[in-house]
């Protein structure tokens, strides 16, 4: 099933007699065993107005095509979507619809916001085959309920996206990264992680608009990124260095791939084990990291996001116990995923609301059944 227009997509959905796996580029590693509903031929940038910072594209448009169009005008997707191919070893071309469906955001999320914060409008096909639009292409819009956010990160379980409308931002003139050495970092737990999270918190709590704050325990370094006009970056870099000097020695690495490697968790790519993504209150990160007993860790978003490389089959959620946040299983074998579930179980009242929403939007349970609950 490979519709080329929204109308065809709606017809296919209306005629479905069983569940489908919704696939864009197939790079996020969630396609189930049901027949594929492939939206990768639903392509094209429908509108791009650089002066209004808005872009509208069919959901199957390759992310690369969107990024190339933006690049030509000196703009970008500020939420810095992760490329899952590196970590999961998948192939294919990520689509803009897939990015939205999975609400994929990278290191800049901590400052600029997540994919959902840049999503202005959607068109999608619900389980009954009706085409629904919500939001639009303007930056401020509170007309009716915000189904735009509901669709972002719903992993296709509420409807099949056919078009997305995004806010884009200018690319900065300059980027500078500060690396702070956090001494004696053999393990990412105890004093080192606390020190690292403290340094990141200090950076993010400064007035210098830090657009990335990550900690790689194996390198023993905290990274803080500054972006903007060259003179401004130079000024802020100097001021931030003064502020952060108390945490450790500061260098300015010239590593062009540093942030895309952090974004894509490249450090776990060639290592065996399950990969988990923990979302938590940053100050809880050191304690959670200790409880995880991971083989390796990577901290992003100032400690709000922890990537954990775990021995295969480990039940990370059981080790963490109750905490303010959630843990998502990103990479594992099928057996582990079936046993533990990709997504963190929700408290009963919230699980009931989410199930009821899925039943409303997709009454027959056609779309990616079982993926989110």
């Amino acid at each position: 099933m490979t519709p080329e227009t929204e109308t065809e997509l709606a017809q296919i959905v209306a005629g479905l007699s069983g569940p489908v796996s919704i696939v864009g580029g197939g790079t996020r590693g969630v396609a189930g065993s049901a027949p594929a509903l492939d939206i990768s031929r639903l392509t094209g940038i429908h509108l791009y107005e650089p002066g209004a910072l808005t872009l509208v594209a069919a959901a199957g448009t390759p992310l690369a095509e969107v990024e190339a169009a933006l690049d030509a005008e000196g703009q970008r997707l500020a939420f810095e979507p992760m490329d899952h191919r590196v970590l999961l070893g998948t192939s294919g071309a990520p689509t803009i619809g897939g990015v939205v469906a999975a609400n994929v955001s990278g290191p800049r999320r901590v400052q600029a916001g997540a994919c959902r914060d840049f999503l202005l409008g959607v068109r999608f096909v619900d389980g009954g085959g009706a085409v629904i639009k919500n939001g639009g292409r303007v930056m401020k819009n509170v007309t009716g309920y915000d189904l735009v956010k509901l669709m972002a990160g719903s992993w296709g379980t509420l409807g099949v996206l056919s078009e997305v409308s995004l806010k884009v931002l200018p690319k900065p003139e300059a980027t500078q990264t500060l690396a702070i050495a956090v001494p004696d970092a053999e393990r990412a737990v105890g004093p080192d992680a606390e020190r690292a999270v403290g340094a990141m918190s200090d950076a993010l709590g400064s007035p210098f608009e830090v657009s990335g704050a990550a900690y790689d325990p194996e390198r023993g370094q905290v990274f803080a990124r500054l972006e903007g006009f060259a003179d401004s970056v130079a000024y802020r870099s100097a001021r931030l260095s003064e502020r952060l000097a108390r945490w450790g020695d500061i260098t300015r690495p010239e590593a062009p791939d540093l942030w895309s490697d952090i974004r894509d968790v490249r450090c776990f790519a060639d290592r065996a084990g399950d990969v988990w993504r923990i979302s938590c209150r940053p100050s809880d990160a050191p304690d959670l990291a200790q409880k995880a007993g991971a083989d390796a860790l990577l901290f992003d978003w100032g400690g709000d996001l922890i990537w954990a490389l775990m021995a295969e089959g480990s039940d990370l959620r059981a080790r963490l116990g109750g905490f303010d946040g959630h843990a998502t299983l990103i990479r594992s074998d099928q057996e582990t995923r079936a046993q533990l579930g990709m997504f963190h179980p929700q408290p009963a009242p919230l699980a009931a609301i989410q199930q009821a929403l899925r039943t409303r939007f997709d009454p027959q349970g056609r779309f990616n059944p079982g993926l989110m609950g």
Binding site: I132, V138, L147, K149, L150, S279, R281, D304, R360
Partner: protein, 477 residues
């Protein structure tokens, strides 16, 4: 404005309802004499008024839960109310409803600078959230004009914006978690002190749902470190279209100002007469503000002035001091008051793509002539959120109706230009009946399906957001 007929069975049972509510609320939190309920008869959309049957002022999440459980069991509609500053009639009561005001719940529950969050009770005012973290030079970014009075509860319900959202986003971009009471009394916790809540984005759909999905009693908000400084430049043009082009060129250049405000001739003159800000006499005025250190501000304003000069401005005034900045902002900040000196006015809130600005302004001018009502335009130009202010005389028979019809035409124009009915004020009752101009019945059905899930009996904030015809079957079920 058409509102549903009150249910006589509910009105009859008022004594039983009061008896039950008095078991869960202290005496002074239960208001039911008409002399007192009248205080809740309207919000800031004062053209429409209706005293509620009862008003309650709970002081805790538990009390909110008790009240909602009782109203749910009794089948009584509930209209949640923050500070009553809605310009869209979002807190307008029905005759048979209970107004649930959160004004007594205004404590700060947690301030956490390391994690850059604050948790407050939802009755706390917007400005006092920033006030609570000012000592450490932090602030809460969304800044609606009513921020001195408006409550976080209403901000969450309406997904409120403000002048600075071009850079910082609106409420939904700064809200991390809520404690919410469902209509049946169930208390749920969604999100928390971390960036992305798990599961479906319920927080995203609750924010902006106009109090129709639940009553938010606590909110976890992102706080940010204040910039080192901020300063505006004032730029005057003799043509609206040129001002619009200048806005677009600034944005394309890679500068992201914290605010770009636009005023047209009528507003400029009204503000000048009212506030004596020293504004030039011209067709269009832009106030562009940037943030950073002194040197960063100088550099950014320099770039903006360079762009503006290409468009032959009739006035260019860069603020060099805090006093000059205050003077430049003085006129803009008093725009609504200044227009109110001229006559009664109705404030609209449509958003348009920035590129459609000249066309939309021209068409509004034509409509103004047709209707014989003056209109001033003041708006957040960076994000296309317009605030046309239509002047009318409330004492002149027929003028309000004429003004409403003119307003509806402007909002339809915004939608037809690729925009929307409301950028930050919400639908409420004001734009309810225009929803079908922006959305088709399937689109509205999908939104109403969400309400079905959260509030199956359709008791929360009835007769708002959706056209009465579209929601009739559900409301009478």
């Amino acid at each position: 404005m058409e509102m549903p007929e009150p249910d006589p069975k509910i009105l009859e049972r008022k004594p039983q309802l009061l008896a039950r509510l008095s078991t869960v609320l202290p005496e002074d939190a239960l208001i039911h004499e008409i002399s007192e309920t009248r205080a809740y008869e309207c919000d800031a959309l004062t053209a429409y008024r209706c005293p509620p049957m009862v008003a309650v002022l709970p002081a805790s999440t538990q009390e909110v839960s008790d009240v909602l459980r009782i109203c749910h069991e009794e089948g009584v509609p509930v209209v949640p109310r923050g500070s009553g500053t809605s310009l869209a009639g979002g807190a307008l009561p029905t005759e048979d409803c209970v107004i649930l005001g959160v004004a007594r719940m205004n404590d700060v529950l947690e301030t956490d600078y390391d994690n850059r969050i604050i948790r407050v009770q939802s009755g706390r005012t917007n400005l006092s959230v920033s006030g609570a973290v000012e000592e450490r030079d932090f602030f809460y970014a969304p800044d609606p004009s009513s921020q001195l009075a408006c409550a976080i509860a209403g901000n969450v319900a309406m997904n409120s914006g403000g002048a600075h959202c071009l850079k910082y986003g609106v409420t939904t971009n700064n809200l991390l978690g809520v404690t919410m009471v469902m209509m049946d009394g169930t208390v749920v916790e969604i999100g928390g002190a971390h960036l992305d809540a798990g599961g479906l984005d319920l927080l995203g759909v609750i924010c902006g749902s106009e109090g129709q999905l639940g009553v938010v009693t606590e909110a976890t908000l992102r706080i940010l470190r204040k910039p080192e400084g901020a300063r505006p430049v004032l730029i005057g043009f003799d043509d609206n279209a040129v001002a619009g082009q200048c806005v677009s060129d600034i944005i394309k250049s890679g500068i992201l100002p914290v605010a770009i405000e636009f005023m047209d001739r009528l507003c400029i003159e009204a503000c000048e007469n009212f506030a004596h800000a020293g504004y030039p006499k011209c067709e269009a005025l832009l106030i562009v503000e940037v943030e950073g250190s002194e040197a960063e501000i100088d550099s950014q304003l320099g770039k903006i002035i360079e762009i503006a000069k290409r468009h032959n401005p009739v006035e260019l005034r860069e603020s060099g001091s805090a006093e000059e900045s205050a003077k430049i902002w003085l006129g803009r900040k008093s725009a609504f008051g200044a227009m109110g000196q001229l006559n009664d006015y109705m404030c609209l809130d449509g958003t348009i793509p920035v590129s459609e600005l000249p066309l939309v302004l021209r068409r509004i001018g034509e409509l103004s002539k047709d209707y014989g009502l003056p209109v001033g335009n003041v708006f957040h130009a960076g994000d296309g959120n317009m605030h046309p202010l239509i002047l009318f005389d409330a004492n002149k028979p027929g003028d309000l109706e004429k003004c409403e019809a003119f307003g509806a035409d402007i909002l339809r124009l915004c939608v037809d230009a690729g925009g929307c009915l409301t950028g930050e004020h919400g639908v409420g009752i004001e734009k309810r009946d225009l929803m079908l101009h922006q959305y088709n019945p399937d689109d509205l059905e999908a939104q109403m399906a969400v309400k079905d899930v959260f509030d199956p009996k359709w008791l929360l904030n009835p007769a708002k957001v959706f056209p009465l015809g579209s929601s009739a079957a559900r409301r009478s079920a």
